[in-house]
Assembly symmetry: C2
Homo-oligomer: 338 residues x 2
């Protein structure tokens, strides 16, 4: 029986995760019992929310326990099956975590059709990040024609889809991204109207220049200094879907920026802002709409995506550490096997 | 021709308004031209938003100019009329400001039926404050049966109606008010389930005890330390209609509380909170529903109200200064004439 590999949480990170917070373990390839199937991981998704799962601070989901396999969404191939409806060679989407093999009873698993789209898109543009962009923008942001939509982490898995859907809905799309290469990609490849490099100095001034009519929707992925630059530009009745706060995920203490809480709540009142947090599962009922619309936009070339691929599950920890520093360029995925 | 009285803004207050920020002027009783009527003010409403109008900080409405009559909603009697549909003796609601007499061309004016409800209620429970409570709670707060609704300034014109409607909708209503007399009124007269005195020490602890199941709706009237006490008790998916920030209206600088902006936005994300600012005119389309429902609840004794009456327009400045300190007990109105 071949040996598999899994990566477990070795310690709760303090600040930025480091190699020693993870542990690579070998494991025997598990044998499926009745009603089970054995899955071989092809692709593993790495996403910013994983930093939250490594911590035991209160959040919307339970943390990964010390010694437990790291959680994560996966695309896998069925190796053996004692489960009706699944046969060897089938490819499925699931959440099998950071491991090369897993048993499944079929719960939370969905069969993928390799002829429809590249399999890895089930982890990106046609998966959780795409659905996050679609529901957060349309359900909370509700962009109208001619409005200005700003999205942070604009070259990333979520942000890239937000801006492209904003364009499809007739809005002006302005991205915020880290570095000139990402900004060029956002405007030239994805078709945003503008993109501001948050590392390029005077973010408030350059963002203002990129948004001459103010900001009607701010899709919030990062928090921190980027939020503070956006904040004074919000128009009356602006909507702020709060999707992520990646700038603070590694923070040991909540950072103390220049913006006072009292100034924020005052502006919420006087500008009649809506700030609303969400996670993708809150809008599970929209999954059919999402797949229909975004699949069509992909086929029509109206939505594009970019993947940043890392080879080998043993490289997942360093890749996640890099993701939290903004090192990735596009949807970060790990090729676990081919 | 009798002389009238008006109160104008003499200076923009720095911090708490003082007597010298107002000036009492006599004025000739104006004579109505064609298409105009002369109104005699009976009741003047005093409301916290007026502090904002005295300042030229950006807000949702233009400030009162120096030397201009202070703005305010009024109940008036028609003295002379050159306007079709109005005759001497008619009583109208309008926004004639802090003056004993005014001319009107009928714009923004609505006739009142003295047989339906006491005339002063057009400034309170059946007026802007009641409508603010009704729309903010039902449109944004959306309380469900069994949920916990907390409202600050609970004995005031808005807060008292918020809690009573929450009860009608089957929610648990918890007030926050200043002093034992107001708290007793809120529970014993208005029928809230509990009321916490924010002057009584350990507000966070006592609020938590009053909300054993956390807080699902927080109707925000005050901001500051009260908001910070409410904040950690908000449940997942809690809704926060942001209606007022009276604790900061006199602030020269935005105060720096214990709550970091980054902690607030993080909680918006992890708890999927909705914070939404509004002013009553945003929901103007609901005015008919409001009048129908709250009038019925008043007749049925399910909504009660309390007025705090000041005699004489010359006492309006001191009354507004007191309102911003929480001195009033119930809807603050000025009896200008009888």
């Amino acid at each position: 029986m071949a040996a598999g590999t899994r990566i477990v949480l070795a310690a709760r990170p303090v600040g930025e995760p480091k190699d020693s917070d993870f542990r690579i373990e070998t494991m025997p390839e598990p044998a499926p019992g009745p009603g089970q199937m054995l899955l071989r991981t092809l692709w593993l998704s790495l996403d910013p929310y994983m930093r939250g799962r490594m911590s035991d601070a209160p959040s919307y989901a339970k943390p990964v326990e010390i010694g437990q396999t790291m959680e994560g969404r996966t695309v896998s191939e069925v190796v053996q099956s004692n489960l009706d409806g699944y046969k060897p060679g089938d490819v499925v989407f699931g959440a099998n975590g950071w491991q090369t093999h897993a048993l499944s009873d079929g719960k939370g698993v969905r069969k993928l059709d390799p002829s429809l789209a590249p399999l890895s898109t089930a982890l990106g543009v046609l998966g959780m990040p795409g659905m996050t962009a679609y529901t957060g923008l349309l359900e909370i942001g509700q962009p109208k024609e001619g409005e200005t939509v700003v999205v942070s982490a604009a070259s990333g898995a979520v942000g890239s889809v937000v801006g492209q859907i904003a364009k499809i809905k007739g809005a002006r799309a302005v991205g915020i991204a880290g570095g000139p290469d990402k900004c060029r990609y956002v405007t030239d490849e994805l078709g945003f109207d503008a993109c501001v490099d948050h590392r390029g100095g005077d973010l408030p001034g350059r963002l203002k220049a990129a948004c001459p009519n103010g900001i009607d929707v701010y899709f919030e992925n990062v928090g921190g200094a980027v939020f503070e630059a956006v904040f004074p530009l919000l128009n009356n009745f602006a909507r702020v879907p709060v999707c992520g706060q990646i700038a603070t995920y590694n923070a040991v203490e909540m950072p103390d920026g220049a913006l006072r809480t009292s100034a924020l709540t005052r502006a919420i009142l006087t500008k009649r802002l809506t700030l609303r947090g969400f996670i993708v599962t809150d809008f599970a009922a929209r999954h059919g709409d999402f797949l229909r619309d975004v699949s069509a936009w992909l086929r029509e070339g109206r939505v594009k995506y970019r993947e940043d691929t890392v080879d080998g599950i043993e490289n997942a920890p360093q890749a996640l550490i890099g993701l939290l520093r903004g090192k990735n360029f596009g949807k970060l995925i790990v090729r676990v096997a081919t």
